[in-house]
């Protein structure tokens, strides 16, 4: 579903990604973790072409992302993305947030978009808030709306960039629960997160990044059992320690 082949990227002379290769198969949940500044966000934003790459190749469902001929808006409309800071559109009501891209990008009728949006809002447990504005919801609620907004496009995979790290601790679980459910339904997901509980529960594989490189790319069992690299071990002990 997602193929990342020998991808390198530079910001000026600074190399953010160094020859990264990995893949996410259909129905798979892959968790990406690593220290701050290691290039996790950059990598995941390359998948839907929000960031351009200078070397290598990225395929999403056999469409080459880094091909100038690719219709990026069309590709992106099928790849859901959830951001650390939610990024709901604050001037639009929750319903309009859910409908905007359905109508503008997919060309759905207003009524159909609304129905679809409300059904998904119900699914993330926020039906009662349909007419509110983002600023009137808590962080956890906003993030659940953001997930519903991405799902409304009927994506064939979902990208998450630290979806819970801007949340107060008591709101983290309400978002993770939605994500776990999504994973269990078979959604293909690439998730940047430090929530190792989530990784343990639903991840198929874990990728560990450091300084722009993919250091480990293993099954969850192996990663939590015995990470091979020292950096990953250190990192794991730090965040697991931190969590307890």
């Amino acid at each position: 579903m997602i193929e990342i082949k020998n991808v390198s990227k530079w910001y000026g002379s600074f190399q953010v990604l160094k020859d990264c290769s990995t893949h996410v198969s259909k129905g798979e949940v892959v968790v990406v973790c690593g220290p701050s500044g290691s290039g996790k966000s950059t990598l995941i934003k390359c998948v839907n072409g929000l960031e351009a790459i200078q070397q290598g190749e990225i395929l999403v469902n056999t469409t080459k992302v880094n091909d100038p001929k690719t219709n990026l808006p069309k590709l992106r409309s099928h790849v859901g993305m959830v951001f650390q800071h939610f990024e709901l559109f604050p001037h639009l009501s929750i319903t309009d947030n859910l409908c905007l891209a359905q109508v503008e990008v997919l060309g759905r009728g207003k009524e159909e978009a609304r129905e679809k949006g409300l059904a998904l809002l119900d699914r993330v447990g926020l039906k009662a808030h349909a007419d509110k504005f983002p600023g009137q919801l808590s962080g956890g609620q906003q993030q659940r709306v953001a997930i519903a907004r991405a799902l409304a496009m009927g994506p064939y995979c979902m990208l998450f960039d630290e979806p819970t790290s801007a949340l107060d601790p008591e709101m983290i679980n309400e978002v993770l629960d939605v994500m776990v459910e999504l994973a269990q339904e078979g959604m293909t997901m690439m998730v940047v997160t430090h929530e190792m509980g989530f990784a343990r529960k639903v991840a198929n594989r874990v990728i560990f990044m450091d300084q722009g490189q993919i250091i480990e790319d293993t099954t969850k069992e192996e990663f939590f059992g015995s990470p091979r690299s020292e950096r990953a071990q250190q990192f794991l002990s730090k965040i697991l320690h931190h969590c307890n």
């Binding site: 934003k45 839907n48 929000l50 990026l72 808006p73 069309k74 590709l75 992106r76 409309s77 099928h78 790849v79 859901g80 993305m81 951001f83 800071h85 990024e87 709901l88 559109f89 604050p90 001037h91 905007l100 891209a101 503008e104 990008v105 997919l106 509110k132 504005f133 983002p134 600023g135 009137q136 919801l137 907004r149 991405a150 496009m153």
Partner: protein, 248 residues
């Protein structure tokens, strides 16, 4: 000061038919409003377009925007007016010259030139306000819109501009007030707007103080009206649950 205020002057006959001096002020006010509103329309449309261009990834478009601003913001308004009024018409193609100088009455051609001048001058300032508004939005908004599949044009129309305009209503109000005040430069090229009528009344009646007091009151009232309308607009567009847009 031994000045004999005579407020009745406004109701005295100008000597032309039934006309009183108050009529001069009213006609001046209408010209001032027409100049300001038409100029503002140009400024708002062109300024928004240029401001948007300055935030686009395309270097050429952004470059055109910033060149425009440099040119129109760094030359005094009066110099611009004289260039538009005295120089540009002479380098126009023959047919346009005939149209401007002969087919149109001097009043109308003067009005067109001053409106254009005010509009283009103010557009540079509107451009900078709009650009600032767009740049004040969190980077993630643009990315979130793109990630949903919106094109750049859709992103601007539905996501960025509606938020940016809400942020810049207060500075745009200032520009609106400025263009009303700046429209008084038209008096220097013989257009009988409010300031010109005021001066003329002063000269005809020797009641200079009354005339300028009247002008002051009229400008003040018009601008207060604009401020009031704009703050109502701002309140009407305010987004529930949002104290100030464009943090982060």
């Amino acid at each position: 000061m031994n000045y004999n205020w005579d407020w009745a002057v406004f109701f005295k006959s100008t000597g032309i038919g039934e006309e009183i001096y108050l009529h001069w002020f009213m006609s001046g006010l209408l010209w001032t409003l027409a100049l300001s509103l038409c100029g503002w329309l140009i400024a708002l449309l062109l300024g928004s377009l240029l401001g948007t261009m300055r935030t686009l990834p395309n270097r050429w478009l952004a470059g055109i925007g910033s060149a425009y601003v440099s040119l129109f913001r760094n030359v005094p308004l009066l110099v611009q007016l004289f260039v538009w009024y005295f120089l540009i018409p002479d380098i126009l193609p023959e047919s346009m010259q005939t149209w401007l100088k002969q087919d149109l009455s001097p009043e109308v051609s003067g009005f067109l030139i001053v409106t254009l001048c005010l509009g283009l001058f103010t557009a540079a300032r509107v451009c900078e306000q709009v650009r600032t508004g767009i740049e004040a939005l969190p980077r993630g908004q643009r990315q979130a819109a793109a990630a949903l599949g919106l094109t750049t044009a859709q992103t601007y129309r539905r996501v960025l501009l509606p938020q940016a305009f809400r942020i810049v209503i207060p500075p745009l109000t200032s520009e609106f007030l400025n263009i009303i005040k700046n429209s008084s430069v038209a008096s220097l090229v013989g257009l009988m707007e409010l300031l010109a009528q005021t001066k003329q009344t002063g000269e005809f009646t020797a009641n200079l103080f009354e005339a300028f007091t009247m002008a002051t009151l009229i400008y003040f009232t018009v601008n207060m009206g604009v401020m009031f309308t704009m703050s109502r607009l701002e309140r009407k567009l305010r987004v529930p649950g949002l104290i100030a847009l464009g943090g982060k």
